[in-house]
Amino acid sequence: MVKNTAYEKVKAARDQGKILTTDLVHQLVDGFFELHGDRLDADDHAVIAGIGYLKNQPVTVVGISKGNDTESNIDRHFGSATPFGYRKALRVMHQAEKFNRPVLAIINTPGAFPDVESEYHGQGSAVAQSILEGLQLKVPYISIIIGEGGSGGALALASGDEVYMFEDSIYSVLSPEGYASIMWKDSKKVPQAAEELGLTPQSLLKEEIIDGILPEVKDESDVANLREFLSSRFSELKKITVTDLLAKRQLRYEKF
């Protein structure tokens, strides 16, 4: 199916059949070993973190994942991370720095979890730290938005060297539903909101917010292609000295 309108993209990005972040991580990374907890408070199940090999190359992986049934979705707050989740991700990212491993972030989130508990535990601060420290991470850092890239909750894990999006994915400052409700107080205008937000990979590539559009992952050969692509990108980034890498990263965000 060709998704012509932005709203069709929104629906495709949220499709139940889309590969889960957790499944993609296990398929992409050989010998994936999951690391739990933020070593402060808790282990947020919306965030997956761990280590493994990407084509013989050790990598650290972090991701935000939805679930595939009611139980797993409740367990993962429908893919919305709490401060514990962001702090877990940041913890393993710092560990990656220590062992000089590149970092891969895989994102599918409607946004940071909006609940009272997350507020009490500093949701804003957790996202702020993820962005600030992600920008300064001394190893190659690539992010892929595979479904929804919801606002600051997604940006928290997308402040590295390169950001990619799957063909059927979206990235925006707020949901089209939120936009329609605030701008026009009219839920029927969600398709128009999607259009105005410019949230499709195509629009975002044109605006140079992202570095490329990647095909959807449906079978093993897609996984292999993605693995090949990422591994070559990491190899390229590894050739750059840390000073140059950070300077380049800084420029990437300063141009906005």
Partner: protein, 274 residues
């Protein structure tokens, strides 16, 4: 029935009496709900009962907080590519009320003998929302401060990202953070003063990046808005869940400083880092 000894004035008469009252004679504090005569707020615009600092324009804040202040990048305004009529009207209105062309006022400032770079977000400029040029002005301020080895004092007041500017607004969180980290890596001090309200994307970036984070009494400080929480997960947050005092209790604010004490507190902290 005996005629009443007391006359109840007619509705029309009451209306007339009310309209004879000057506007803004009385003020109600949105936090403690005490009603008082406006002149009791004083120059600082604070509640005489609970100390809440009313929302004030950036220019006003500069005048009550600094001894000297010089605005820079005053001409930077919303990029031309945003041509939506409603948005343009909002901008025009905001400019008229605040006297500035973007939601933040920036420039070198002085308190007594201490120089620093200051940024003040204006809650009357489209709710202090983070537009592309807001991010640009703050980013330039940090870069200038880094170059001149000056500390930065940032007063935040914002509803968060500016949705009219879409993804570019979101990217400002990263852009400003990048400038903040450069400043931090140079070993320079960054003080944040959280003012009412500081929320959303501003809380989730430079408002929480300070070496020292202060807040005005009872300021609303949070990430997700009350309505978003209520509508998304059907949870009813307590009245004070995002009050500065609550956030302090949870460990994310260093100190709450009354507006009357702000100038001398900033001076003391800046002096200690000289």
């Amino acid at each position: 029935m005996e005629p009443s000894k007391f006359h109840t004035p007619s509705t029309d008469l009451l209306k007339k009496r009310m309209s004879d009252l000057p506007d803004n004679l009385l003020k109600e504090c949105p936090v403690c709900h005490k009603v008082f005569f406006s002149n009791k707020m004083g120059d600082l615009h604070t509640c005489p009962n609970c100390g809440y600092g009313f929302r004030i324009t950036a220019k006003r804040r500069a005048s009550i907080t600094f001894d000297k202040f010089e605005e820079i990048d005053a001409e930077i305004t919303i990029p031309d590519r945003y041509q939506d009529i409603k948005y343009r009207q909002k901008i025009a209105k905001a400019e008229k009320i605040t006297g500035i062309k973007e939601s933040v006022l920036t420039g070198p400032a002085t308190i007594d003998d201490v120089d620093f770079a200051a940024g003040i977000m204006d809650p009357y400029f489209i709710m202090g929302s983070l537009g592309t040029s807001t991010g640009e002005k703050i980013s330039r301020l940090f870069k200038r401060a880094t170059k001149e080895s000056l500390p930065v004092v940032m007063f935040t007041a914002s509803g968060g990202a500016r949705m009219q500017e879409g993804i570019h607004s979101l990217m400002q969180m990263a852009k400003v953070s990048s400038a903040v980290s450069e400043h931090a890596n140079a070993g320079l001090l960054y003080i944040v003063v959280l003012c009412d309200p500081t929320t959303g994307g501003v809380t989730a970036s430079f408002a929480m990046d300070g070496d020292i984070i202060l807040a005005e009494p009872h300021a609303l400080v949070g990430f997700a808005g009350r309505r978003v929480i209520e509508q998304t997960i059907n949870q009813k947050p307590p009245v004070d869940f995002q009050r500065a005092e609550t956030v302090l209790e949870h460990g994310f604010i260093d100190s709450i400083v009354a507006r009357a004490d702000m100038k001398k507190t900033l001076y003391r902290l800046l002096k200690l880092h000289q």
